[in-house]
Amino acid sequence: MSSTHRRKERIDRGIKVRTEGLYALMSWRELSYLTLPRLVLIVGMLVLPFVMPGMYWQKVITIVCIYAMIAIGFDFLAHYVGLVSLGGAFFIGAGGYLAAILNSSYGLPPLLTIPIATVLGAAICTLLLLPCLPLRGVYFAIVTLMYPLVLARIIEALDILGGTDGIMGVDSFASSWVEQYVAIGMVLVFVFALRRLVNTDLGLVFRAVKDNDQAVRASGMNISYYKAVAVFLASAMGCLAGACLVHIYMWAGISLFALDFSIIPIAATVIGGGGTIVGPVLGCLILVPISELLREFGTLRIVFYSLILVGFIVFRSEGIMVFGERKYHQFQRWVRV
């Protein structure tokens, strides 16, 4: 063929190659290439409460962090372990109700209820999800989708745990500043911890379970155990978020199992970039304020997210952070074939 064809070629940027391993310490330029994005993230999030105009928007930031914790768990499970959790509300409800019970019935302060609710809630959630772990991924998706719906109906029908009224009179945090910084701090901790985890040997095992679980079994490892560990981690994050939430709203009710907590994290992950752990945080930063702005439209906002979600899935777009990371690390050019 005499006609020339072109194709896109993507090459790592020079500075990315220069920052591999120890060479990152070569000069300030290389150091800042690596550290600047992370600093922007940390400083940006820590400064956020100060730049927000008023109490209402400060609360929005806290709620963003709550959603971000679920979304990080979803991203970790879906893209690094291969389990798609369609019911983030399950974790919120479990952690939330546990914290509320510990606080109102046993009088424990938020400083204690949150850690206990996190660990205990994660244990309960993992236990309830145990039957579907040895099975194919579809079953995990179905079961996680159903648990919040069914549990909400059970609580309503049996009128336990406060029924439709919920549990009132839950203590709040010491001050609104504590509230915000606990939430922001936990999000930052989770983001960096998970990004480190997926590069350790244990993280490699998780990725292998997603890639080819038969081979992992043939190597003498019990995949149900590792899936359970991953589910424990993700549900711990969700339960922590739920525990914080009830202390913010000073109330625990069926609305903890609301669809918002299941849909927004998925939409945030898809928009923000799946597989990056930090993409879901970005997605939440975008979606939750929009959700607040649309609050007067009632449940129409759920329609809105659902349609965005469908759009992103159907057109298979990669998400903001994935696009951003690629642009940051690589450049592309046309090459003659």
Binding site: L86, V138, M146, I266, T299, L309
Partner: protein
């Protein structure tokens, strides 16, 4: 005796609800999580035709079925076809569409007691000393008719046989010249119409509430998992098992426990026999 009657009625209701989902999954392996929303949507459209446009009941039903069938085809052709094969994306996409429909209906003011569909016939009759209203009898008869009709369709017509072929082995069907996308559209249309029919049959027994959409989705999934994803006979059998279990708990424990029964049924099935009663995915048990 009344347990027998009510149990049968409940079981047939569950089977009608689940059949649409089981059919679509069995043929094209696409889990249609918008199933519950089509159920409610059909009720809403029929109501609109009846009250707002004043059409006679029979024609409202027919046109509604055509509309939901078309909606099912659209759902497949524009959304599901692009994520075909990626099971998780199919679930998320169809679930999101289902939620969009249901919450959209909720926002459209669709709540409260004022929306009902009239029953097909007033009055009741005594069967074995138990009062049973005509509508429920009609529902059982129509349900049985649907099952028989579906059986005949899939065993004796060309399209039905093609659908069964696709359900058994998609690759082999492709090699025989059966267009898998076309068959998937057909199965979605039939599945949507079945969901719509379920809505039309069952919604007159109560109010049209958006919550019913989620309930129907849960119950349909429960029935299909217990019966085995992909097996229609298993779905019917499971519907009877769960149906009777629900009635028994209503009689002996109280009427609040119906959802608990569904949840426990799923959990027990996943623990004891993951592929379900007549499950075709035996490899789930092959794993030691």
């Amino acid at each position: 005796m009344d347990i027998l009657i009510y149990g049968t009625i409940n079981s047939v209701a569950l089977a009608i609800m689940a059949l649409g989902f089981a059919l679509v999954y069995g043929i094209s392996r696409v889990p249609n999580f918008a199933h519950g929303s089509i159920y409610v949507l059909a009720g809403f459209i029929t109501w609109s035709f009846l009250r707002t446009l004043g059409l006679p009941y029979f024609w409202s039903v027919i046109i509604t079925l055509l509309i939901v069938g078309f909606a099912g085809a659209l759902l497949y052709q524009f959304i599901l076809i692009r994520v075909r094969g990626m099971a998780i994306s199919e679930i998320i996409a169809s679930y999101a569409v289902g939620i969009a429909i249901l919450e959209g209906l909720r926002w459209g003011g669709f709540r409260g007691m004022s929306y009902t569909l009239p029953v097909f016939a007033e009055g009741s009759v005594m069967i074995g000393g138990v009062p049973v209203d005509f509508h429920r009898i009609i529902m059982v008869l129509v349900g049985a008719g649907i099952f028989v009709g579906l059986y005949l369709f899939t065993h004796y017509t060309r399209i039905g046989l093609a659908l069964r072929g696709m359900a058994q082995d998609e690759r082999a069907a492709l090699m025989l010249g059966i267009d898998s996308d076309l068959m998937a559209v057909v199965s979605m249309v039939i599945g949507a119409m079945l969901a719509g029919m379920a809505g039309i049959l069952l919604l007159p027994l109560g109010n049209i509430v958006v919550e019913a959409g989620y309930n129907v989705l849960i119950l349909a999934i429960a029935v299909c998992i217990v019966g085995g994803l992909g097996s229609w006979g298993g779905a019917v059998l499971a519907a009877f098992l769960i149906g009777f279990a629900q009635i028994l708990t209503v009689v002996y424990l109280g009427s609040h426990y119906q959802m608990v029964v569904a949840l426990l049924a799923i959990i027990f099935t996943l623990i004891l026999k993951p592929s379900g009663l007549f499950g075709l995915q035996k490899q789930l048990e092959e794993r030691v």
